[in-house]
Amino acid sequence: GASAGLLCAHAVGQEREPWTRHPGAPMADSGAPAKHTAHIKRLGISSQAGTTGTGVSRTPLEHLDGIITPSRLHFERHHSGIPDIDPARHRLYITGLVKRPLSFSLESLLRYPAVSRIQFLECSGNSGGMLAPEPRDASCGELHGLVSASEWGGVPLSVLLEEAGVSKNASWVVADGADAAMMSRSVPLRKIMDDAIVALYQNGEPLRPGNGYPMRLFLPGWEGNMCVKWLRNVQVTAAPAMTKDETSRYSDLADNGRATLFSYPMGVKSLITSPSPGLAMGPAGIYQVKGLAWSGSGRIRRVEVSADGGKSWADAALDDSVLPMNLTRFRSAWHWNGEPAVILSRATDEHGEVQPTREQVLAGRASNSFYHYNGIQAWAIDRQGWVRNVYA
């Protein structure tokens, strides 16, 4: 007997599943996920005491496959909730050290040259839980779900700056958002002219409010906090503004008391998303180890996996679409013999940068300096097939 009660061994007639016996549900304006996948939702939602919109929600990486994150599951990091913006009244301003300060409506931006690329966005605070002295009992998404990937489409910001006429002495911009925190970050002008876009589309459709509707800054490979959502003003300056979010936050304190500002590209990183905590293994046998690798500086060149806690490594296969500054999906078959095992992945990018160990990442850091954590992740599997976060 091979099926779940649909067949009997001595069947003479045809056997059809119960849901084939009457017409199904109609076509719909907008297709919803299956009710059976309702457990696939954002994880670890948390907000500062007394607030509902000053915090994070995380992508459930362990339930996803491929290299794109459905927009509904893209992680969130808001500083004062999601503003209810009227797109007809919203304006994007270009101000500061320009010949002609300008104001753009959404409608006018839709007439500008545009590009579209599939790229990751990672909060520089992602994986901060790995600083805990003892490994936290949490899932892959709960630990590392402040990273997502989307197709981002919009107008190169350089085109708008050229229209305004950037002054010779300019070398930064200060971008701020139309949320209640008017969140602001300084961004080097060189990055802006290189590949920054004013994103209007995410995964084919207009941005969703949680990701910056009607427009956001997108800086390929750089820390998520700089990709200012609900973008309202790009003020051209000669120096960084030293905003609260680039000094008090998103700066890196060393254990000698010195701190580093402006650490921008996200480091080379990888994670095994399955097996991972919460996805129990079945009996011994062949499993597909799969995961994600990315680098803020370019393409992933190689991902190695280990099933013996790092003693030996083997190259994983990479899915076809290895795009610069995007998530790359890796896969590797693994014959699990049913004994306890520790599985790891290690990424290398096209510049030869190799993902560091947890120890290497933490060396020299202050004890609570959690930004830019990109250490190798270890999952331990026990005889029962339970998977948990460990420090290898």
């Binding site: 301003y93 006018s108 050229e162 969140m183 609570n368």
Partner: protein, 153 residues
């Protein structure tokens, strides 16, 4: 650029200034007005203390004072006084974002005042100091010289 429709509408200098909130470390962007520590204390006790605690000690939200000398310890406490490199950041941020439930409700004098109070709480300025567009950029923050830049223009 022959692909750009050039649809930007020009802003007057006054308009551009009105939509630009950034206050630079050199004081550029600071408005007219002024505030004292004493006025700031009153405002703080009305509008801020519920979230940031008496004397900025924190609770339920971020701690705003103290932590001096803790940065090299096993548990660094980063506050305005112990960590922030520039005093202008405080004016810029409070004007944008605080008080949390009603950002934009303080006028410029009030933002100067509460800035003065928080700097005083952190032992950075004198109780008689007046903060305005001239004095604020001159305030030297204790941790000012302990920052490196990972990115050089």
């Amino acid at each position: 650029d022959n692909e750009s429709p050039q649809l930007g509408e020009e802003l007057s200098a006054a308009e551009a200034d009105a939509v630009s909130f950034t206050v630079m470390p050199d004081g550029a962007g600071l408005p007219a007005g002024a505030g004292t520590v004493a006025t700031g204390e009153k405002i703080y006790l009305q509008q801020c203390v519920a979230c940031h605690g008496v004397n900025g000690e924190g609770g339920p939200n971020d701690r705003l004072a103290g932590g001096h000398g803790s940065l090299q310890s096993n548990l660094p406490v980063k506050t305005i006084g112990s960590y922030w490199p520039f005093a202008t950041t405080l004016f810029d941020y409070v004007r944008r974002a605080m008080p949390y439930t009603a950002p934009g409700s303080l006028d410029d004098d009030e933002v100067y005042a509460v800035t003065a109070y928080l700097l005083h709480l952190n032992g950075v300025i004198d109780g008689n100091a007046v903060m305005n567009a001239q004095s604020l950029p001159l305030v030297k923050m204790p941790n000012r010289d302990n920052f490196d830049w990972a990115w050089q223009p």
